[in-house]
Every structure is written in structure tokens, then in C-alpha cells.
């Protein structure tokens, strides 16, 4: 693969990573830890919201992030013709 194309592919990969890792940080460290106190004032059913993010919500989001990454990358690999043949 030529250098320029490779650079662009890598740049797009880094962009995906950055977006997903920001979400990763926000749901766990911001919502579940740093802002957990104030968020606990809000109740979802019986759950204080900060507590819910810390013990439930962040984990659901983590799962979603990986599947989003997989689908984005599979598309990107095809687009740049660097995917694996069967």
C-alpha cells in the first residue's frame, strides 16, 4: 500500500479511537466518579444516576463501544482495501 494512503488510513483509525475513548472516559470517569455526587441527585427508578453509571451504565457503554469500533474498522479496512481475505 502506498505511503499517502497508509497515512490517511491511520489518521482515520486514530480519529475513531479518539472519539470512542472520549466516550469511554466520560461514562466511567466523569459520570461514574468525578460527577457521581451531583448526578446522584437525579433518580432513575430506584437508582441514583451517578451510582448507576458507576455500577451498571458504564459497563453497557463499554460493550457498545467495542462493537461500534469493530463495525467502523471493518468498513474502513474494506474502503482502503487492507481487509483480510477469507
Amino acid at each position: 500500500m502506498d505511503k499517502e494512503k497508509m497515512k490517511l488510513y491511520w489518521k482515520k483509525n486514530i480519529k475513531f479511537l479518539t472519539i470512542l475513548l472520549i466516550i469511554w472516559f466520560v461514562v466511567s470517569y466523569v459520570a461514574g466518579i468525578l460527577m457521581a455526587g451531583p448526578l446522584n441527585e437525579i433518580k432513575i427508578g430506584g437508582f441514583p444516576l451517578g451510582f448507576w453509571f458507576a455500577q451498571q451504565g458504564s459497563i453497557y457503554v463499554f460493550v457498545a463501544l467495542i462493537f461500534i469500533y469493530v463495525s467502523w474498522m471493518n468498513k474502513l479496512d474494506k474502503e482502503f482495501d487492507v481487509d483480510e481475505k477469507e
Binding site: 461514574g32 430506584g46 469493530v70
Partner: protein, 564 residues
């Protein structure tokens, strides 16, 4: 039928399954022994990774810890799942493309240095041994309670089983046994959780039941629990008592440590393609999340049930489980004010009940009066969790010795067959050592497990990340970074956790209020900083290494994992 008989039957059947699989999937070559031939389907790898990952600590101890720590327990929940996002996005696909057998392989080749390789081998051995000692102990504890043998004999039985499939089957045997173990452990964890959720809240899904109202009332379960806690003088269940900075640093150290643990990383070498490495990290996290989102619900249920059963009740009217666990010494009652009732309160002077948090999951079905077969199932699940993790760790240990040390450094000409026998020999030795630690646990087992995560965070993680994402990274930078990251983390643990250096310390002395458990995060930052500085004042890595880095950044041409 009584619990004893049920336990013999269910544990007997599961063990027969493990041994059957071990014989069916014997390893015939080093490639099969190290990475299961590189042909594991991603879904199976996801399940095996989940079983590998969820240890006796996840199955037996975690819900118990959360039960006593409330909100603070979130450090384990987020810490031990969030690391998979890092693995899937930053590590697994590139390491799979790189296509070797072990983490020290990557470090050694990427940093064109046997010194770097040796540092990595030592870290891998240290991390795996500290971890495996805890697993063998877990096996002993489960056996001693449910089969009524003493803990030592429990460890021997565990050693014999692990010996069978780890030594014979290598990674191939372990992988398929772990698939079976995952099914057993998740079933064993979910059945009591669902039963108890229905009992307490009328909602069969524990993840929802935990946020519902207590059956027959308008009060939310968590509000009720907070109320009980306040009455007895404990911190509110949903608030916890650790400082924000400490929770932050511990969570981070656990996440990064997870992504740097060699027995987890090596699982992604076993799938056929880069694509499969990505998706199997996703599957693994789904399988892990089923247990990890249920555990906090179990914790809250168990806490409520426990307080309601014992608090201010008369000792003579305690149910059978109470005296069963008293016999093990893990539950003790001392009637300080001689009123014949159990005072379970936060105040140490007045509290009369001491409960080992490890027994919460195991005792939970008994506390909730569930049928005997459920109790036996939990025993089998605990054993599955401990054995699957122990086997994965033993494999890393034997591979480090036979592949990273002997094949790559001492005797490169060794034949595949001889290397395979060497790997088996190393596995036998590792089982013995693990068994020894299981029978004679160092009293700082819990402390060294925290150390294992901190060390993985402070050593491997930055070296691997920079190796992939920073082409200019050279061997001087990587070695200096790993060594300083390790040194400062070990120093902090020795000083503030193990008390090996200097005067005794308290939490007042911690740097920035960061506990030793969270210090791996600082070690990691130091490693990154030192690596970058040193790397920039020394020459860039050779052209062929830079080409390796270019090459691992896209999936095509991954092929099977191979030796050369």
C-alpha cells in the same frame, strides 16, 4: 437430597467434562500448545477469554466486596471491564497482526533487544505467579466448605485437575475447557441471582430488580438499604467512603492493568484474523458484562438479606447456614453485651459479628433459602472460575520459560518436539509452585494481587502502546520506561502496602491521597514520560523495525501466528 450429595454429583460431572475435553483436544505441536494452533473461532475465544479473566476473585469475592463497600465497589466493576475497551481498540488487533506467541515476543522484537525481552519475561512471571497463588487458594476454600475436606486436600485435587488439562492440552486444551467452564460459571452465578431478585423485588432480571421496589412495598431496594445502613452507622450504600481521587486512580490502574495482563493479551493470539481479534474482545466483554452487571445486584440483595436476617436477632434462632459458616471460622459472633442478640453495627466497640466478605456469594443461596442443588451449583461455578484462570496463568508461566527464555535466548536450535516437552515440564513445575502457594499462602496475597495489576500497568502497557502508536520509540526509551515504572511502583507498594521499607505508614502518608492499589496509574505515567524523553535523545529505531510498525497497523496479510 442434601447439599453434600448434590455437590458431589454436580462437581463430579463438571470435572468429568473438563477432563474429557482435555483428552479430546491434546496439543501436538508448540503452536497448538502456545496459541491453540491460531484457529479458535472468535465466539469461542470470547467465552474462553471471559472464563480466563473471571477468577475466583470475580466469582467468589467481588460481589462480597461490593456488598460491604457499596458504591466504592465500582472500582472493580469499571476497572475490570473498561480495560477491554483499551484491549480491543489499542492492543489486540495490532498484536494479532504482529503474529507471535507471547507478550515478551512483541517487546523483544519491537525493541530489537533481549534485555527488553528479559525484563518483559520477568514481569510476566511475577504477575502470573502472584495471581495464580490466589486462584489455588480459592479452590481450597470452595472444596473445604462444600466437600468438607480440609483446605490442603482441596488444593491437591485442584492441582490434579489443572495438571491434566493444562499440561496435556496446552492452550488448545485450556481454550475448549474454558468454554465449558464459562457456561458452568455463568449459569451458577445467574441462577441464584435470578431467584433472589424474584424473592426480593418480583423482578426476574437482577440488573433491573436492583433498581426496583421491594416486593409488597413502595420503597426502592436501594433506599431501603441506605436506610438500614444509616440505622447501623455505616456510610450510605450508594455513596461509599473512598476519596474521589483514590477511586479515580484505582479504577484507572485496574483498567490499564487488565489491558496489560499477559494471560489476557495472549488470548488474542489464538484467533485466525485481525478482524477476529477485534470482535472477540467484544464478545469477551459481553460474556464478562453478564456477570459484572449482575454482581452489584447480588451485592445489594445479599447485603439487605444479611442485615435483615442477623441484625438485632437472637443468636439461638439463627438459621443453619450461620453455624455452618461459623465452623469454617469465616463468620464469628461474640456476644459483647451478653444479651443473646446479634448487634451488627459500624462501631467496632459494639459490633459483635465479623463476616469474611469472601463468603457472601457462597453463603448467599443459603441465606436466601434456595434449594440444595443451587447451592451445589454455586460450588461448581466457583471451582470453574478458579480453575480456568489458574490454567490460563500456568500456560503463560510455562510459555515464558520454554519459549521466551529457552527458545529465544538460551537454545535457539531446540526442536519443536523438545520445546513442547519443555513447555509441559515448565507447566508441571508451575503447577507445583502454585500448589505450594495455595497451601502456604503468603499473608499478603490480597496485597500482591493489587501489585500484579499495578505492575502490569506500570510496565507492559506503555511499552506496548508506544511500540504500536509511536514509531520513533526505541529500545533505550522502552527499557528505561519499564524499569523506572516498575521500580517506583514496587517502591510505593513496599513502603505503603507491605511495610517492608521504613516506619509503618497510614493513609495520611500516601502521595496525593493515592492508595497503593491506585499507584500503578502513577507508575504508568512515569513510564510514559521517561520512555518519551529517553527515546527522543537516542537514535531512532532501525529501518526494519519501523517497517514492522507500519505493517502491524493494517490487517491484511496477518496469517496464522508463527514462530519466525
Amino acid at each position: 437430597m442434601d447439599v453434600q450429595l448434590w455437590t458431589y454429583i454436580i462437581v463430579g460431572i463438571t470435572f468429568a467434562i473438563y477432563i474429557g475435553i482435555a483428552i479430546w483436544s491434546r496439543a501436538g505441536s508448540t503452536k497448538e500448545f502456545y496459541v491453540a494452533g491460531g484457529g479458535v473461532p472468535p465466539l469461542a475465544n470470547g467465552m474462553a477469554t471471559a472464563a480466563d479473566w473471571m477468577s475466583a476473585a470475580s466469582f467468589i469475592s467481588m460481589a462480597g466486596i461490593i456488598s460491604f463497600a457499596g458504591y466504592d465497589g465500582a472500582v472493580y466493576l469499571m476497572g475490570w471491564t473498561g480495560g477491554y475497551v483499551l484491549l480491543a481498540l489499542l492492543l489486540a488487533p495490532y498484536l494479532r497482526k504482529f503474529g507471535k506467541f507471547t507478550v515478551p515476543d512483541f517487546i523483544g522484537d519491537r525493541y530489537y533487544s533481549n534485555t527488553a525481552r528479559t525484563v518483559a519475561v520477568l514481569c510476566a512471571l511475577f504477575v502470573s505467579f502472584t495471581y495464580v497463588a490466589g486462584q489455588m487458594r480459592g479452590v481450597g476454600v470452595v472444596f473445604s466448605r462444600f466437600l468438607e475436606v480440609d483446605i490442603d486436600n482441596g488444593v491437591y485435587i485442584g492441582m490434579a485437575i489443572v495438571f491434566f488439562y493444562a499440561v496435556l492440552g496446552g492452550m488448545k486444551g485450556i481454550t475448549y475447557t474454558q468454554v465449558a467452564q464459562y457456561v458452568i460459571l455463568i449459569f451458577a452465578f445467574m441462577v441464584p441471582a435470578i431467584f433472589i431478585s424474584i424473592q426480593l423485588t418480583n423482578n426476574p432480571i437482577p440488573q433491573l430488580g436492583f433498581g426496583s421496589t421491594v416486593s409488597g412495598t413502595e420503597t426502592y431496594l436501594l433506599d431501603k438499604l441506605n436506610g438500614l445502613h444509616e440505622e447501623l452507622g455505616f456510610a450510605a450504600y450508594t455513596n461509599g467512603s473512598k476519596s474521589i481521587i483514590d477511586v479515580f486512580f484505582i479504577t484507572f490502574a485496574l483498567m490499564v492493568g487488565t489491558a496489560g495482563l499477559p494471560h489476557v493479551i495472549v488470548r488474542f493470539f489464538t484467533v485466525p484474523r485481525v478482524k477476529d481479534a477485534r470482535i472477540s474482545a467484544g464478545y469477551a466483554l459481553v460474556f464478562i458484562a453478564i456477570l459484572y452487571t449482575t454482581a452489584p445486584a447480588v451485592a445489594a440483595f445479599a447485603r439487605t438479606n444479611l442485615i435483615e436476617t442477623v441484625s438485632d436477632q437472637s443468636y439461638s434462632e439463627m438459621p443453619g447456614w450461620f453455624s455452618n459458616w461459623e465452623k469454617t471460622g469465616l463468620l464469628t459472633f461474640e456476644d459483647k453485651n451478653n444479651d443473646g442478640k446479634i448487634q451488627y453495627v459500624a462501631d467496632k466497640e459494639q459490633n459483635e459479628l465479623t463476616i469474611d466478605r469472601d463468603i457472601m456469594v457462597l453463603a448467599n443461596p443459603e441465606i436466601a433459602n434456595l434449594p440444595n442443588w443451587v447451592i451445589a451449583l454455586v460450588a461448581a461455578g466457583g471451582l470453574a472460575a478458579a480453575l480456568s484462570t489458574a490454567a490460563g496463568l500456568l500456560l503463560v508461566i510455562s510459555t515464558s520459560v520454554s519459549h521466551d527464555l529457552v527458545k529465544k535466548q538460551i537454545a535457539p536450535d531446540i526442536s519443536d518436539k523438545a520445546e513442547l516437552w519443555l513447555a509441559r515440564g515448565a507447566a508441571v513445575l508451575a503447577v507445583m509452585v502454585a500448589g505450594y502457594f495455595g497451601i502456604n499462602p503468603p499473608d499478603y496475597v490480597a496485597a500482591v494481587v493489587a501489585l500484579a495489576f499495578g505492575l502490569a500497568a506500570a510496565s507492559f502497557f506503555p511499552a506496548i502502546i508506544l511500540g504500536i502508536f509511536y514509531k520513533r520509540m526505541n529500545k533505550e526509551g522502552a527499557i528505561a520506561g519499564m524499569v523506572t515504572g516498575l521500580a517506583i511502583t514496587i517502591f510505593y507498594m513496599a513502603r505503603y502496602k507491605l511495610g517492608w521499607i521504613g516506619e509503618p505508614t497510614t493513609s495520611e502518608d500516601w502521595w496525593f491521597g493515592i492508595s497503593p492499589e491506585g499507584f500503578g496509574t502513577v507508575g504508568m505515567i512515569v513510564n510514559f514520560a521517561v520512555s518519551l524523553v529517553v527515546s527522543n535523545v537516542r537514535a531512532a529505531p532501525p529501518q526494519e523495525v519501523q517497517e514492522i510498525v507500519d505493517n502491524i497497523r493494517f490487517p491484511r496479510g496477518a496469517g496464522a501466528a508463527q514462530d519466525h
